[in-house]
Symmetry: D3
Subunit: 161 residues, 6 copies
């Protein structure tokens, strides 16, 4: 087993996907933000109208997905076919971002999903940092992926979510 | 207290920093990756020459810092003056990314530091995902910041790191 | 009838084009600039050699077309196959920009055509604003489109142009 | 009087602003969209929840402002200090986008304001085009500007708005 | 014979590749840097650990390849399938960068290869300019290309390299 | 003497320019293209109207200068104040690109000048490659620089140009 992004000399390269077949791909990733309960109430309530904080984060995540290959050096450019970002409060102090991406291509779309979730979470941080600098982002991980030679993947315990 | 990125109608806007003085700013942020011990050994050992995985992640983090204002909708463009990304194994299964950024500007550089740490961590994920799809990124948070009207900030427990 | 860019909760998403067939697409869009007659003469005559104002606007439009998916949040990245930008004086005070784009893809290329025409027009504004700040851009609209499930479209009166 | 973006040979160049003083600048620009009354009702009413169409357009405009120098060839990069985008229905068939930008720099921020208004308007078009392909964008123009050697500018009739 | 990037009026346009078949393409390009022998020793030896100068240049070249269509006005966006950048000292004063790119598309990938080699070489310059401002880059050229209607191409003397 | 872009461990970082004074900077760089005499005639004559090949290359160079910090990993973002690109035939087979850039900043503008010249030259290659694939780019080097602590620099023999 080896890290395919490194050649025989250990030099980073963008691996050749030319011989791989085009298959339908899907990837679902998440990030979880933890904040003060007052911060979350402010987002959900009147003062900080929920609309625009979450709308802004969703849009930032969608736009970041399209720029994944510019950010992650060894990623291939991918013709993304859909992006959905769901953001919801999952407790009094936590917000969960889930991104779902699809494409038909020779390589997977996991990095796009992880980038979308991360940037959406960072955007929530940005919009609330003036009132809660101690917010943190955890559990950025791949929940599912389907398509491609390596087959399907489901994170342990992800079904329960 | 209110979310300054939203105006009186709850619409997102880029807040006016025109009247703020230019001050020297620093921000330090981190992300922590957890992976299989074999994955980390592969990064540190021969097969997966450490050089390029961490070099690639450091460079990706530095380059992402410069694009923060393109990714995070309400961020101001900032003339970044320095970026350092340190990446090291902190246990048999964990890698910690710490980013340190500086600028002289009317607004802070926290989002740049958080973006740099996040993208560096995502790059490690990308380069190792073929052997360990279950890697996860946690503890993306601001460790310190200095400069600006809101004063200094030190994450609780951050000194101990 | 509904706005497909919004899901059942009203949240913006990038719609799934995965099941749509690849078809040959074309879109033609325009923008019309109105300016002082002296400004237009300056562009067309000696002092403001026509070559570079219109050349610069054409090139800006072509390059902007390639960045449409970065600018318009819900647009899919598209493998553009051709871009033509025609710019000509249509009266003593008006310049018309017409962009023609083609691709073979699962979704249409109208936004690329509209973005190309708009940015070309903005570039003419930029290059002449020092002498005529009151220039304006009107009639930014889709003239024709062909290809795709929704079929052909021709703007009313567009044939007459 | 001459076009300052062209040198003595008519070649486009980015003019030298090195000797100009830094002054506080503001620019206000607009674009007006005309659409079918059903389309506008759909945006404002239930089916097409107003929140995200206008939120998405506002965010797209803010983000586009930050990329003006990448889109308009002869524009200087500018440290934008604030961006506000207001979008509102002004009749049964018209939506008006007004962008207000500020910076402290050696050159003005008009192109950023015009680009922000244009891209916000294009985003509304994109999100509604499936139901109304005949939408059009008019009256993209500079309403006001202040700061800089050339002094203040107010579009004729703009005060009445 | 004519320059296909110009239309019948001499205006630049992005040529229509819609009717061309998709074929497997490869392009190999190079750039050669000449520097002081002390500079090259510094890169290869201890003081200037070879790892990161060449790693940084390789990564910069790979990332630049993905942005070719943003930089070169008439280039089509291309779904790049692989990028390899090899950098090695070829004499006491010279470093050679060789880029190899592949795609399956309707147009060739030569510009991506040339851009990758050029930006990798510029990155070496950047990282060493503090000690050797007189470095220069020569012999930026296409070594080989295969695929496409125009057939294979091998630079004269390139076999000997 | 050491490579300032590498820290004490050889890791690449963006050096801290925070303590450096702002000074007026200028950098002049060049690239030289060699081509078949027929290719150059075609550019200069009727068939390949000179206007747009050189206009396109000039504009590409100006726009690339503004993106230098995105392309060259360790470059700081710089508020460019002017860009001039001159392109002229210097023999029957050679075209010389000279870029002149200025800024007032804490670090120099040499990389912007070199990037502008390189991308302008690559654009000429792109627009002529259909008729002359063997074109090459040489002598990409810094001609002059002024400003900054390291003082002025003039390439040997550059005065004679």
């Amino acid at each position: 087993m080896k890290l395919t992004h490194l050649d025989e000399n250990g030099a980073a390269h963008m691996v050749n996907i030319g011989a791989k077949p085009v298959t339908q791909r899907e990837a679902v990733a998440q990030s979880v933000l933890t904040m003060q309960p007052e911060t979350l109430r402010m987002i959900l309530d009147g003062t900080a109208p929920k609309g625009d904080v979450f709308a802004c984060a969703r849009i930032a995540g969608i736009m970041a997905a399209k720029r994944t290959a510019e950010l992650i050096p060894m990623c291939h450019p991918i013709p993304i076919e859909s992006v959905d970002i769901a953001i919801e409060a999952v407790s009094e102090t936590q917000v969960r971002v889930v991104s779902t991406l699809r494409c038909s291509h020779k390589t997977g779309i996991e990095m796009e999903a992880l980038t979308a979730a991360s940037v959406a979470a960072l955007t929530v941080y940005d919009m609330c940092k003036a009132v809660d600098r101690g917010m943190r982002i955890d559990e950025t991980l791949l929940l599912h992926k389907t398509g491609g030679k390596s087959g399907d993947y489901h994170a342990e315990g992800a079904a329960a979510r």
